[in-house]
Protein backbone atom coordinates (compact mmCIF):
# COMPACT_ATOMS: atom_id res chain seq x y z
CA UNK A 1 0.00 0.00 0.00
CA UNK A 2 2.96 2.31 -0.50
CA UNK A 3 1.35 4.37 -3.23
CA UNK A 4 2.54 7.66 -1.86
CA UNK A 5 3.54 9.99 -4.69
CA UNK A 6 6.79 11.86 -4.11
CA UNK A 7 6.34 15.53 -3.34
CA UNK A 8 5.52 17.39 -6.50
CA UNK A 9 8.17 20.09 -6.47
CA UNK A 10 11.84 19.23 -6.50
CA UNK A 11 12.43 21.86 -3.84
CA UNK A 12 11.62 20.78 -0.31
CA UNK A 13 8.58 22.63 1.04
CA UNK A 14 10.03 24.90 3.65
CA UNK A 15 7.31 26.84 5.34
CA UNK A 16 5.17 25.24 7.98
CA UNK A 17 2.06 25.86 5.93
CA UNK A 18 3.35 24.05 2.91
CA UNK A 19 4.49 21.09 4.95
CA UNK A 20 1.11 20.88 6.59
CA UNK A 21 -0.78 20.89 3.29
CA UNK A 22 1.51 18.23 1.87
CA UNK A 23 1.00 16.12 4.98
CA UNK A 24 -2.75 16.57 4.76
CA UNK A 25 -2.72 15.54 1.14
CA UNK A 26 -0.78 12.36 1.86
CA UNK A 27 -2.94 11.55 4.88
CA UNK A 28 -6.08 11.92 2.79
CA UNK A 29 -4.73 9.59 0.12
CA UNK A 30 -3.70 7.00 2.69
CA UNK A 31 -7.18 7.12 4.14
CA UNK A 32 -8.76 6.62 0.73
CA UNK A 33 -6.58 3.59 -0.05
CA UNK A 34 -7.30 2.14 3.34
CA UNK A 35 -11.02 2.67 2.93
CA UNK A 36 -11.00 1.07 -0.49
CA UNK A 37 -9.28 -2.02 0.85
CA UNK A 38 -11.74 -2.23 3.72
CA UNK A 39 -14.66 -1.98 1.30
CA UNK A 40 -13.15 -4.67 -0.92
CA UNK A 41 -12.62 -7.06 1.99
CA UNK A 42 -16.07 -6.30 3.34
CA UNK A 43 -17.67 -7.02 -0.03
CA UNK A 44 -15.74 -10.27 -0.37
CA UNK A 45 -16.83 -11.26 3.11
CA UNK A 46 -20.48 -10.51 2.38
CA UNK A 47 -20.37 -12.50 -0.87
CA UNK A 48 -18.83 -15.44 0.95
CA UNK A 49 -21.41 -15.18 3.71
CA UNK A 50 -24.34 -15.04 1.31
CA UNK A 51 -22.95 -17.90 -0.71
CA UNK A 52 -22.40 -20.06 2.37
CA UNK A 53 -25.85 -19.40 3.72
CA UNK A 54 -27.32 -20.25 0.34
CA UNK A 55 -25.34 -23.45 -0.16
CA UNK A 56 -25.63 -24.92 3.32
CA UNK A 57 -29.26 -23.84 3.59
CA UNK A 58 -28.59 -22.31 6.94
CA UNK A 59 -31.26 -19.99 8.25
CA UNK A 60 -32.03 -18.10 11.41
CA UNK A 61 -35.40 -19.84 11.97
CA UNK A 62 -33.62 -23.17 11.63
CA UNK A 63 -31.01 -22.04 14.14
CA UNK A 64 -33.70 -20.88 16.53
CA UNK A 65 -35.48 -24.20 16.15
CA UNK A 66 -32.31 -26.30 16.16
CA UNK A 67 -30.50 -24.84 19.15
CA UNK A 68 -33.15 -25.83 21.73
CA UNK A 69 -33.14 -29.31 20.20
CA UNK A 70 -29.40 -29.55 20.59
CA UNK A 71 -29.65 -28.19 24.12
CA UNK A 72 -32.36 -30.72 25.04
CA UNK A 73 -30.18 -33.45 23.67
CA UNK A 74 -27.22 -32.35 25.79
CA UNK A 75 -29.40 -32.03 28.88
CA UNK A 76 -30.85 -35.46 28.12
CA UNK A 77 -27.39 -37.02 28.32
CA UNK A 78 -26.91 -35.80 31.88
CA UNK A 79 -27.30 -38.58 34.43
CA UNK A 80 -29.58 -38.31 37.43
CA UNK A 81 -27.29 -37.96 40.40
CA UNK A 82 -28.98 -37.60 43.76
CA UNK A 83 -27.23 -36.61 46.92
CA UNK A 84 -28.77 -39.39 49.09
CA UNK A 85 -27.31 -42.33 47.23
CA UNK A 86 -24.65 -40.54 45.24
CA UNK A 87 -22.29 -43.51 45.00
CA UNK A 88 -24.81 -46.00 43.66
CA UNK A 89 -25.99 -43.42 41.13
CA UNK A 90 -22.41 -42.87 40.08
CA UNK A 91 -21.90 -46.62 39.79
CA UNK A 92 -24.98 -46.86 37.62
CA UNK A 93 -23.81 -44.02 35.42
CA UNK A 94 -20.40 -45.63 34.98
CA UNK A 95 -21.74 -49.17 34.72
CA UNK A 96 -19.28 -50.06 31.96
CA UNK A 97 -16.23 -48.41 33.51
CA UNK A 98 -13.95 -51.44 33.28
CA UNK A 99 -14.71 -51.97 29.61
CA UNK A 100 -14.42 -48.28 28.84
CA UNK A 101 -11.11 -47.99 30.64
CA UNK A 102 -9.80 -50.83 28.54
CA UNK A 103 -10.87 -49.01 25.38
CA UNK A 104 -9.39 -45.80 26.73
CA UNK A 105 -6.05 -47.54 27.23
CA UNK A 106 -6.34 -48.80 23.66
CA UNK A 107 -6.99 -45.25 22.44
CA UNK A 108 -3.93 -43.89 24.25
CA UNK A 109 -1.78 -46.76 23.00
CA UNK A 110 -2.98 -46.12 19.46
CA UNK A 111 -1.98 -42.49 19.81
CA UNK A 112 1.40 -43.47 21.26
CA UNK A 113 2.33 -46.15 18.73
CA UNK A 114 1.03 -44.03 15.86
CA UNK A 115 3.11 -41.07 17.01
CA UNK A 116 6.27 -43.17 17.35
CA UNK A 117 5.89 -44.85 13.97
CA UNK A 118 4.98 -41.57 12.29
CA UNK A 119 7.90 -39.91 14.05
CA UNK A 120 10.32 -42.50 12.67
CA UNK A 121 9.10 -41.88 9.13
CA UNK A 122 9.16 -38.14 9.66
CA UNK A 123 12.74 -38.41 10.92
CA UNK A 124 13.75 -40.31 7.81
CA UNK A 125 12.11 -37.80 5.49
CA UNK A 126 12.86 -34.51 7.22
CA UNK A 127 16.55 -34.36 6.27
CA UNK A 128 16.00 -34.67 2.52
CA UNK A 129 13.08 -32.22 2.86
CA UNK A 130 15.25 -29.43 4.29
CA UNK A 131 16.52 -26.95 1.73
CA UNK A 132 19.90 -26.40 3.35
CA UNK A 133 20.80 -30.07 3.86
CA UNK A 134 20.45 -31.57 0.39
CA UNK A 135 22.06 -30.54 -2.82
CA UNK A 136 19.82 -32.30 -5.32
CA UNK A 137 16.62 -30.40 -6.04
CA UNK A 138 14.86 -33.57 -7.18
CA UNK A 139 15.26 -35.29 -3.81
CA UNK A 140 14.10 -32.18 -1.98
CA UNK A 141 11.09 -31.80 -4.22
CA UNK A 142 10.08 -35.48 -3.93
CA UNK A 143 10.41 -35.49 -0.12
CA UNK A 144 8.37 -32.32 0.18
CA UNK A 145 5.57 -33.66 -2.03
CA UNK A 146 5.39 -36.97 -0.14
CA UNK A 147 5.10 -35.11 3.16
CA UNK A 148 2.48 -32.79 1.71
CA UNK A 149 0.39 -35.70 0.50
CA UNK A 150 0.52 -37.50 3.87
CA UNK A 151 -0.41 -34.29 5.65
CA UNK A 152 -3.22 -33.05 3.45
CA UNK A 153 -5.27 -36.22 3.10
CA UNK A 154 -7.34 -36.30 6.29
CA UNK A 155 -6.47 -38.97 8.84
CA UNK A 156 -9.99 -40.34 8.67
CA UNK A 157 -9.79 -40.88 4.92
CA UNK A 158 -6.65 -42.93 5.45
CA UNK A 159 -8.50 -44.80 8.18
CA UNK A 160 -11.44 -45.53 5.84
CA UNK A 161 -9.11 -46.97 3.21
CA UNK A 162 -6.89 -48.82 5.67
CA UNK A 163 -9.90 -50.46 7.30
CA UNK A 164 -10.56 -52.00 3.89
CA UNK A 165 -6.97 -53.09 3.38
CA UNK A 166 -5.92 -54.16 6.89
CA UNK A 167 -9.25 -55.17 8.36
CA UNK A 168 -11.26 -53.64 11.18
CA UNK A 169 -9.56 -52.82 14.45
CA UNK A 170 -6.84 -50.65 15.95
CA UNK A 171 -4.10 -51.78 13.55
CA UNK A 172 -5.66 -49.82 10.68
CA UNK A 173 -6.18 -46.86 12.99
CA UNK A 174 -2.55 -46.81 14.10
CA UNK A 175 -1.35 -46.89 10.51
CA UNK A 176 -3.67 -44.03 9.59
CA UNK A 177 -2.36 -41.97 12.50
CA UNK A 178 1.22 -42.87 11.60
CA UNK A 179 0.89 -41.74 7.98
CA UNK A 180 -0.74 -38.46 8.89
CA UNK A 181 1.76 -37.84 11.69
CA UNK A 182 4.68 -38.53 9.35
CA UNK A 183 3.38 -35.80 7.06
CA UNK A 184 2.83 -33.10 9.62
CA UNK A 185 5.83 -33.87 11.83
CA UNK A 186 8.08 -34.22 8.79
CA UNK A 187 7.22 -30.70 7.72
CA UNK A 188 7.80 -29.26 11.20
CA UNK A 189 11.08 -31.18 11.56
CA UNK A 190 12.24 -29.97 8.16
CA UNK A 191 11.52 -26.39 9.18
CA UNK A 192 13.58 -26.89 12.33
CA UNK A 193 16.37 -28.32 10.18
CA UNK A 194 16.31 -25.30 7.93
CA UNK A 195 16.98 -23.05 10.90
CA UNK A 196 20.08 -24.86 12.19
CA UNK A 197 23.38 -23.14 12.63
CA UNK A 198 25.56 -24.07 9.59
CA UNK A 199 28.87 -23.88 11.48
CA UNK A 200 28.78 -27.35 13.11
CA UNK A 201 27.83 -28.81 9.72
CA UNK A 202 30.85 -27.20 8.11
CA UNK A 203 32.97 -28.41 11.00
CA UNK A 204 31.97 -32.04 10.50
CA UNK A 205 32.38 -31.73 6.75
CA UNK A 206 35.84 -30.18 7.20
CA UNK A 207 36.83 -33.07 9.47
CA UNK A 208 35.90 -35.48 6.68
CA UNK A 209 32.40 -36.61 7.61
CA UNK A 210 30.01 -37.99 4.99
CA UNK A 211 26.33 -37.07 4.71
CA UNK A 212 24.93 -39.38 7.46
CA UNK A 213 27.72 -38.29 9.80
CA UNK A 214 26.94 -34.63 9.14
CA UNK A 215 23.29 -35.27 9.95
CA UNK A 216 24.11 -37.24 13.09
CA UNK A 217 26.85 -35.02 14.52
CA UNK A 218 26.18 -31.60 13.03
CA UNK A 219 22.38 -31.37 12.87
CA UNK A 220 20.73 -33.77 15.32
CA UNK A 221 22.27 -32.34 18.53
CA UNK A 222 20.94 -28.90 17.61
CA UNK A 223 17.42 -29.94 16.76
CA UNK A 224 16.67 -32.75 19.22
CA UNK A 225 14.89 -30.64 21.89
CA UNK A 226 12.58 -29.12 19.29
CA UNK A 227 11.86 -32.53 17.81
CA UNK A 228 10.92 -33.89 21.22
CA UNK A 229 8.66 -30.94 21.85
CA UNK A 230 6.84 -31.38 18.54
CA UNK A 231 6.53 -35.12 19.14
CA UNK A 232 4.85 -34.54 22.49
CA UNK A 233 2.50 -31.98 20.97
CA UNK A 234 1.62 -34.43 18.24
CA UNK A 235 1.00 -37.15 20.80
CA UNK A 236 -1.64 -34.97 22.45
CA UNK A 237 -3.31 -34.36 19.09
CA UNK A 238 -3.15 -38.01 18.14
CA UNK A 239 -4.83 -39.26 21.29
CA UNK A 240 -7.68 -36.91 20.49
CA UNK A 241 -7.70 -38.11 16.89
CA UNK A 242 -7.61 -41.76 17.94
CA UNK A 243 -10.79 -41.26 19.91
CA UNK A 244 -12.57 -40.34 16.67
CA UNK A 245 -11.13 -43.13 14.53
CA UNK A 246 -13.42 -45.67 16.15
CA UNK A 247 -16.32 -44.07 14.31
CA UNK A 248 -15.14 -45.71 11.09
CA UNK A 249 -14.25 -48.97 12.81
CA UNK A 250 -10.56 -48.38 13.40
CA UNK A 251 -10.43 -49.20 17.10
CA UNK A 252 -10.40 -47.18 20.30
CA UNK A 253 -13.12 -45.71 22.46
CA UNK A 254 -14.80 -44.09 19.46
CA UNK A 255 -16.49 -47.38 18.61
CA UNK A 256 -18.25 -47.49 21.94
CA UNK A 257 -19.18 -43.82 21.68
CA UNK A 258 -20.57 -44.42 18.22
CA UNK A 259 -22.74 -47.26 19.47
CA UNK A 260 -23.95 -45.19 22.42
CA UNK A 261 -24.90 -42.23 20.23
CA UNK A 262 -26.57 -44.35 17.57
CA UNK A 263 -28.61 -46.34 20.09
CA UNK A 264 -29.53 -43.24 22.11
CA UNK A 265 -28.00 -44.54 25.34
CA UNK A 266 -27.94 -41.02 26.66
CA UNK A 267 -26.12 -41.34 29.95
CA UNK A 268 -23.40 -43.48 28.37
CA UNK A 269 -22.61 -40.63 25.99
CA UNK A 270 -21.94 -38.16 28.78
CA UNK A 271 -20.01 -40.76 30.78
CA UNK A 272 -17.65 -41.56 27.90
CA UNK A 273 -17.25 -37.93 26.90
CA UNK A 274 -16.33 -36.99 30.45
CA UNK A 275 -13.76 -39.80 30.55
CA UNK A 276 -12.32 -38.55 27.27
CA UNK A 277 -12.13 -34.95 28.46
CA UNK A 278 -10.40 -36.01 31.69
CA UNK A 279 -7.88 -38.20 29.87
CA UNK A 280 -6.96 -35.62 27.28
CA UNK A 281 -6.66 -32.90 29.94
CA UNK A 282 -4.28 -35.04 31.99
CA UNK A 283 -2.20 -35.84 28.92
CA UNK A 284 -2.18 -32.17 27.87
CA UNK A 285 -0.99 -30.97 31.25
CA UNK A 286 1.68 -33.67 31.54
CA UNK A 287 3.01 -33.06 28.05
CA UNK A 288 3.03 -29.31 28.57
CA UNK A 289 5.07 -29.78 31.75
CA UNK A 290 7.60 -32.01 29.97
CA UNK A 291 7.79 -29.64 27.01
CA UNK A 292 8.59 -26.71 29.24
CA UNK A 293 11.29 -28.73 30.94
CA UNK A 294 12.75 -29.73 27.58
CA UNK A 295 13.11 -26.46 25.76
CA UNK A 296 12.67 -23.84 28.42
CA UNK A 297 9.88 -21.42 29.03
CA UNK A 298 10.84 -18.64 26.68
CA UNK A 299 10.85 -20.85 23.60
CA UNK A 300 7.42 -22.33 24.14
CA UNK A 301 5.90 -18.95 24.65
CA UNK A 302 7.23 -17.48 21.47
CA UNK A 303 6.37 -20.55 19.42
Amino acid sequence: MSTLPPTASPMRPSTLDERLTSFNERYRQQKITHRNWTILYGALFLVALAGSVFVSDFSIPKLVKGLPMAWNYIVGTMPTLTLENFWSDLAEWYWGLRYWLRLLVETILMGFVGTVLGGVFALALCFPAARNLVESTGVYFAARRILEFCRTVPELVFALIFVFAFGLGPFAGVLAIAVHTAGSLGKLFAEVNENVDPRPIEGVRAAGGNWPMIMRLGVVPQVLPNYASYLLLRFEINVRGASALGLVGAGGIGEELYVAIRQFEYTDISAIMLLLILTTSVIDITCEFIRHRLIGHSLTQSA
Binding site: L49, P154, V157, I161, G254, I277, D284
Partner: protein
Amino acid sequence: MTAAPHADIARLRRTHPQLFSRPLSEKLRDWALWLGFFALLGFGLWWIDASPMRLIAGLNKLGLLVTLMIPPWPGDGFWEYCQAMLETLAMAFLGTLIAAIVALPLGFLGAKNIVPNWLFHFSLRRFFDAFRGIDGLVWALIFVSAVGLGPFAGVLAIAVGDVMIFSKLFAEAIENTDRKPVEGVRASGGGDVHVMRLGVFPQVFPVMMSHVLYFFESNVRSATILGIVGAGGIGLQLSDRIRINNWQEAAFIILMILVTVSVIDAVSRRIRAKLT
Protein backbone atom coordinates in the same frame (compact mmCIF):
# COMPACT_ATOMS: atom_id res chain seq x y z
CA MET B 1 44.26 -24.53 15.17
CA THR B 2 46.21 -27.60 16.19
CA ALA B 3 44.73 -30.66 17.83
CA ALA B 4 45.51 -31.17 21.50
CA PRO B 5 48.20 -33.86 21.99
CA HIS B 6 46.93 -37.23 23.17
CA ALA B 7 48.86 -37.00 26.43
CA ASP B 8 47.07 -33.75 27.18
CA ILE B 9 43.70 -35.37 26.63
CA ALA B 10 44.60 -38.28 28.88
CA ARG B 11 45.64 -35.88 31.62
CA LEU B 12 42.43 -33.89 31.27
CA ARG B 13 40.40 -37.10 31.41
CA ARG B 14 42.11 -37.99 34.70
CA THR B 15 41.67 -34.60 36.31
CA HIS B 16 38.12 -33.82 35.13
CA PRO B 17 36.31 -37.14 34.74
CA GLN B 18 32.90 -35.47 34.91
CA LEU B 19 33.52 -33.74 31.58
CA PHE B 20 34.06 -37.03 29.76
CA SER B 21 31.35 -39.24 31.22
CA ARG B 22 28.11 -38.47 32.95
CA PRO B 23 27.38 -39.67 36.50
CA LEU B 24 26.05 -43.18 36.91
CA SER B 25 22.66 -42.09 38.25
CA GLU B 26 22.01 -40.03 35.15
CA LYS B 27 23.03 -42.88 32.88
CA LEU B 28 20.79 -45.29 34.76
CA ARG B 29 17.86 -42.89 34.52
CA ASP B 30 18.33 -42.56 30.77
CA TRP B 31 18.52 -46.31 30.35
CA ALA B 32 15.38 -46.78 32.42
CA LEU B 33 13.54 -44.20 30.34
CA TRP B 34 14.55 -45.86 27.08
CA LEU B 35 13.65 -49.28 28.48
CA GLY B 36 10.24 -48.01 29.54
CA PHE B 37 9.72 -46.41 26.16
CA PHE B 38 10.48 -49.58 24.24
CA ALA B 39 8.47 -51.74 26.64
CA LEU B 40 5.48 -49.46 26.09
CA LEU B 41 6.00 -49.51 22.34
CA GLY B 42 6.21 -53.31 22.35
CA PHE B 43 3.11 -53.56 24.49
CA GLY B 44 1.26 -51.21 22.17
CA LEU B 45 2.28 -53.18 19.10
CA TRP B 46 1.17 -56.39 20.80
CA TRP B 47 -2.13 -54.83 21.79
CA ILE B 48 -3.02 -53.66 18.31
CA ASP B 49 -2.02 -57.08 17.03
CA ALA B 50 0.64 -55.80 14.68
CA SER B 51 2.68 -58.38 12.81
CA PRO B 52 4.82 -58.30 9.68
CA MET B 53 2.51 -60.86 8.07
CA ARG B 54 -0.50 -58.63 8.60
CA LEU B 55 1.38 -55.63 7.33
CA ILE B 56 2.46 -57.41 4.16
CA ALA B 57 -0.98 -58.84 3.49
CA GLY B 58 -2.51 -55.41 4.05
CA LEU B 59 0.01 -53.69 1.83
CA ASN B 60 -0.78 -56.17 -0.93
CA LYS B 61 -4.42 -55.34 -0.63
CA LEU B 62 -3.61 -51.64 -0.51
CA GLY B 63 -1.62 -52.00 -3.72
CA LEU B 64 -4.63 -53.63 -5.32
CA LEU B 65 -6.81 -50.73 -4.19
CA VAL B 66 -4.36 -48.23 -5.64
CA THR B 67 -4.43 -49.99 -9.01
CA LEU B 68 -8.20 -49.86 -8.84
CA MET B 69 -7.99 -46.12 -8.18
CA ILE B 70 -5.99 -45.37 -11.32
CA PRO B 71 -7.04 -43.39 -13.23
CA PRO B 72 -9.13 -41.21 -10.91
CA TRP B 73 -12.34 -40.52 -12.74
CA PRO B 74 -15.37 -38.51 -11.61
CA GLY B 75 -17.89 -40.63 -13.50
CA ASP B 76 -21.05 -38.64 -14.08
CA GLY B 77 -21.09 -37.13 -10.59
CA PHE B 78 -18.69 -34.27 -11.22
CA TRP B 79 -21.17 -31.44 -10.60
CA GLU B 80 -22.54 -33.25 -7.60
CA TYR B 81 -19.04 -33.36 -6.12
CA CYS B 82 -18.46 -29.70 -6.87
CA GLN B 83 -21.64 -28.83 -5.06
CA ALA B 84 -20.67 -31.03 -2.12
CA MET B 85 -17.29 -29.29 -2.02
CA LEU B 86 -18.98 -25.89 -1.94
CA GLU B 87 -21.15 -27.17 0.88
CA THR B 88 -18.00 -28.20 2.75
CA LEU B 89 -16.48 -24.75 2.32
CA ALA B 90 -19.73 -23.12 3.41
CA MET B 91 -19.86 -25.29 6.54
CA ALA B 92 -16.30 -24.36 7.46
CA PHE B 93 -16.95 -20.66 6.83
CA LEU B 94 -20.19 -20.41 8.77
CA GLY B 95 -18.92 -22.60 11.60
CA THR B 96 -15.79 -20.50 12.02
CA LEU B 97 -17.77 -17.27 11.84
CA ILE B 98 -20.33 -18.33 14.44
CA ALA B 99 -17.59 -19.60 16.73
CA ALA B 100 -15.71 -16.31 16.45
CA ILE B 101 -18.81 -14.22 17.18
CA VAL B 102 -19.74 -16.29 20.22
CA ALA B 103 -16.15 -16.40 21.44
CA LEU B 104 -15.70 -12.61 21.42
CA PRO B 105 -17.55 -11.88 24.70
CA LEU B 106 -16.17 -15.06 26.25
CA GLY B 107 -12.67 -13.92 25.37
CA PHE B 108 -13.22 -10.62 27.20
CA LEU B 109 -14.51 -12.57 30.21
CA GLY B 110 -11.45 -14.80 30.20
CA ALA B 111 -8.90 -12.00 29.93
CA LYS B 112 -6.98 -11.28 33.10
CA ASN B 113 -6.91 -7.52 32.59
CA ILE B 114 -10.67 -7.27 32.06
CA VAL B 115 -11.86 -9.61 34.84
CA PRO B 116 -9.10 -9.58 37.43
CA ASN B 117 -10.53 -12.37 39.59
CA TRP B 118 -7.89 -15.09 39.83
CA LEU B 119 -10.18 -18.03 40.61
CA PHE B 120 -12.71 -17.09 37.92
CA HIS B 121 -9.94 -16.68 35.38
CA PHE B 122 -8.32 -20.01 36.21
CA SER B 123 -11.51 -22.06 36.18
CA LEU B 124 -12.75 -20.47 32.96
CA ARG B 125 -9.45 -21.24 31.25
CA ARG B 126 -9.59 -24.87 32.39
CA PHE B 127 -13.16 -25.04 31.12
CA PHE B 128 -12.04 -23.72 27.71
CA ASP B 129 -9.21 -26.25 27.69
CA ALA B 130 -11.41 -29.19 28.58
CA PHE B 131 -13.57 -28.83 25.50
CA ARG B 132 -10.61 -29.31 23.23
CA GLY B 133 -10.57 -32.93 24.34
CA ILE B 134 -13.53 -33.78 22.12
CA ASP B 135 -12.80 -34.29 18.46
CA GLY B 136 -14.89 -32.39 15.89
CA LEU B 137 -16.20 -35.65 14.47
CA VAL B 138 -17.74 -36.61 17.80
CA TRP B 139 -19.52 -33.26 17.93
CA ALA B 140 -20.77 -33.86 14.41
CA LEU B 141 -22.13 -37.25 15.39
CA ILE B 142 -23.94 -35.73 18.36
CA PHE B 143 -25.42 -32.86 16.35
CA VAL B 144 -26.56 -35.22 13.62
CA SER B 145 -28.49 -37.10 16.29
CA ALA B 146 -29.81 -33.87 17.76
CA VAL B 147 -30.81 -31.79 14.70
CA GLY B 148 -30.86 -34.34 11.90
CA LEU B 149 -28.70 -35.08 8.87
CA GLY B 150 -27.31 -32.32 6.70
CA PRO B 151 -24.86 -29.44 6.64
CA PHE B 152 -26.61 -27.61 9.47
CA ALA B 153 -25.34 -30.25 11.92
CA GLY B 154 -21.87 -29.79 10.46
CA VAL B 155 -21.97 -26.01 10.97
CA LEU B 156 -23.00 -26.47 14.59
CA ALA B 157 -20.32 -29.12 15.17
CA ILE B 158 -17.56 -26.88 13.84
CA ALA B 159 -18.85 -23.89 15.77
CA VAL B 160 -19.11 -25.74 19.08
CA GLY B 161 -15.74 -27.41 18.62
CA ASP B 162 -14.01 -24.07 18.03
CA VAL B 163 -15.76 -21.71 20.42
CA MET B 164 -13.67 -22.69 23.41
CA ILE B 165 -10.34 -22.56 21.60
CA PHE B 166 -11.22 -19.17 20.14
CA SER B 167 -12.22 -17.89 23.56
CA LYS B 168 -8.85 -18.88 24.92
CA LEU B 169 -6.90 -17.37 22.03
CA PHE B 170 -8.94 -14.16 22.12
CA ALA B 171 -8.43 -13.87 25.85
CA GLU B 172 -4.69 -14.18 25.34
CA ALA B 173 -4.76 -11.58 22.57
CA ILE B 174 -6.62 -9.17 24.84
CA GLU B 175 -4.20 -9.81 27.69
CA ASN B 176 -1.25 -9.08 25.44
CA THR B 177 -2.44 -5.59 24.52
CA ASP B 178 -0.01 -2.80 25.20
CA ARG B 179 -1.16 -0.35 27.88
CA LYS B 180 0.54 2.63 26.28
CA PRO B 181 -1.88 3.36 23.40
CA VAL B 182 -4.76 3.00 25.86
CA GLU B 183 -3.19 5.55 28.19
CA GLY B 184 -2.41 7.79 25.24
CA VAL B 185 -6.02 7.87 24.13
CA ARG B 186 -7.17 8.51 27.66
CA ALA B 187 -4.59 11.26 28.17
CA SER B 188 -5.79 13.09 25.08
CA GLY B 189 -9.32 13.08 26.47
CA GLY B 190 -10.95 9.95 25.03
CA GLY B 191 -13.84 8.21 26.76
CA ASP B 192 -14.26 4.48 27.23
CA VAL B 193 -15.63 4.03 23.72
CA HIS B 194 -12.65 5.87 22.27
CA VAL B 195 -10.27 3.78 24.33
CA MET B 196 -11.82 0.59 22.96
CA ARG B 197 -12.01 1.80 19.39
CA LEU B 198 -8.63 3.54 19.14
CA GLY B 199 -6.53 1.93 21.87
CA VAL B 200 -7.53 -1.73 22.13
CA PHE B 201 -9.23 -2.63 18.86
CA PRO B 202 -6.32 -1.84 16.48
CA GLN B 203 -4.04 -4.04 18.58
CA VAL B 204 -6.41 -6.95 19.00
CA PHE B 205 -8.14 -7.10 15.64
CA PRO B 206 -5.23 -8.29 13.44
CA VAL B 207 -4.34 -11.03 15.94
CA MET B 208 -7.93 -12.23 16.12
CA MET B 209 -8.36 -12.14 12.35
CA SER B 210 -5.20 -14.13 11.91
CA HIS B 211 -6.45 -16.78 14.36
CA VAL B 212 -9.83 -16.89 12.66
CA LEU B 213 -8.26 -17.37 9.23
CA TYR B 214 -5.98 -20.07 10.54
CA PHE B 215 -8.92 -21.92 12.01
CA PHE B 216 -10.87 -21.49 8.81
CA GLU B 217 -8.04 -23.34 7.07
CA SER B 218 -8.06 -26.16 9.55
CA ASN B 219 -11.86 -26.29 9.55
CA VAL B 220 -11.92 -26.77 5.80
CA ARG B 221 -9.78 -29.82 6.42
CA SER B 222 -12.03 -31.17 9.13
CA ALA B 223 -15.23 -30.27 7.26
CA THR B 224 -14.16 -32.53 4.43
CA ILE B 225 -14.62 -35.54 6.69
CA LEU B 226 -17.64 -34.53 8.74
CA GLY B 227 -19.88 -36.00 6.04
CA ILE B 228 -18.71 -39.48 7.00
CA VAL B 229 -21.07 -39.36 9.97
CA GLY B 230 -23.81 -37.67 7.92
CA ALA B 231 -23.13 -33.98 8.50
CA GLY B 232 -23.10 -32.92 4.85
CA GLY B 233 -20.31 -31.99 2.50
CA ILE B 234 -17.85 -33.95 0.42
CA GLY B 235 -17.16 -36.55 3.14
CA LEU B 236 -20.57 -38.12 2.60
CA GLN B 237 -19.84 -38.66 -1.10
CA LEU B 238 -16.40 -40.04 -0.29
CA SER B 239 -17.54 -42.56 2.29
CA ASP B 240 -20.39 -43.63 -0.01
CA ARG B 241 -18.00 -44.24 -2.91
CA ILE B 242 -15.68 -46.24 -0.65
CA ARG B 243 -18.57 -48.25 0.74
CA ILE B 244 -19.77 -49.30 -2.72
CA ASN B 245 -16.19 -50.02 -3.81
CA ASN B 246 -16.09 -47.34 -6.47
CA TRP B 247 -12.42 -46.58 -6.06
CA GLN B 248 -11.90 -44.45 -9.16
CA GLU B 249 -14.45 -41.92 -8.01
CA ALA B 250 -13.14 -42.10 -4.44
CA ALA B 251 -9.64 -41.27 -5.72
CA PHE B 252 -11.06 -38.37 -7.70
CA ILE B 253 -12.77 -36.99 -4.60
CA ILE B 254 -9.54 -37.32 -2.59
CA LEU B 255 -7.71 -35.37 -5.30
CA MET B 256 -10.43 -32.71 -5.18
CA ILE B 257 -9.95 -32.42 -1.42
CA LEU B 258 -6.18 -32.10 -1.86
CA VAL B 259 -6.51 -29.32 -4.42
CA THR B 260 -9.15 -27.39 -2.49
CA VAL B 261 -7.23 -27.56 0.77
CA SER B 262 -4.01 -26.38 -0.88
CA VAL B 263 -5.77 -23.46 -2.57
CA ILE B 264 -7.48 -22.37 0.64
CA ASP B 265 -4.21 -22.70 2.55
CA ALA B 266 -2.31 -20.59 0.04
CA VAL B 267 -4.93 -17.83 -0.04
CA SER B 268 -5.33 -17.70 3.70
CA ARG B 269 -1.56 -17.69 4.27
CA ARG B 270 -1.31 -14.69 1.95
CA ILE B 271 -3.94 -12.75 3.85
CA ARG B 272 -2.44 -13.66 7.20
CA ALA B 273 1.01 -12.53 6.12
CA LYS B 274 -0.51 -9.21 5.13
CA LEU B 275 -2.33 -8.83 8.43
CA THR B 276 0.61 -9.15 10.78
